[in-house]
Symmetry: C2
Subunit: 107 residues, 2 copies
Amino acid sequence: MIASTPDPPYYAVIFTSVRTGEDHGYAEMANRMVELARQQDGFLGVESARNEIGITVSYWRDLESIRKWKEHFEHSIARQKGRMEWYKSFKTRIAKVERDYGFEREE
Amino acid sequence: MIASTPDPPYYAVIFTSVRTGEDHGYAEMANRMVELARQQDGFLGVESARNEIGITVSYWRDLESIRKWKEHFEHSIARQKGRMEWYKSFKTRIAKVERDYGFEREE
């Protein structure tokens, strides 16, 4: 689903990753992290897709809510496991959304 | 592939879309647009993944290079066809990357 976000400015965390072959509870962790992120103050939405690479973009009210989510205990553990097992490589980019526009087909 | 981008600041265009069932040369257009984007001044890289939704993030030096790419003739035609045929809905977000960090597994 395309995330329904408020008018800019707000923040995007663009997380791009390449997986290892290891599974070990990856899907459960990924689902749990989305569930947990949704409960955080300042969370605005998330979009995710994967084939050769995975791209997850989460949207946040401000840098403070991103910082808190990064320091969330359960998320820290998941991030550590990500480095140990699940990801061959990843890149995280913190970006301020300045403008957005959309299109919705009329049926 | 994870895009290899310079140190921030730079810009990201986050394009999230839901496809219609229509094909009509979609893959050719998508490949051509990436090929063409790579030739533009200020282009820094692109990442793309699709399953239920598609996410394409392209990276640019500044807003001026994004504006020029948006006005590129062939790209305009493709965007028009996107609205007419290929996309059920999409959202485009222009964001300034302020910070990034990565991880690369040592083999």
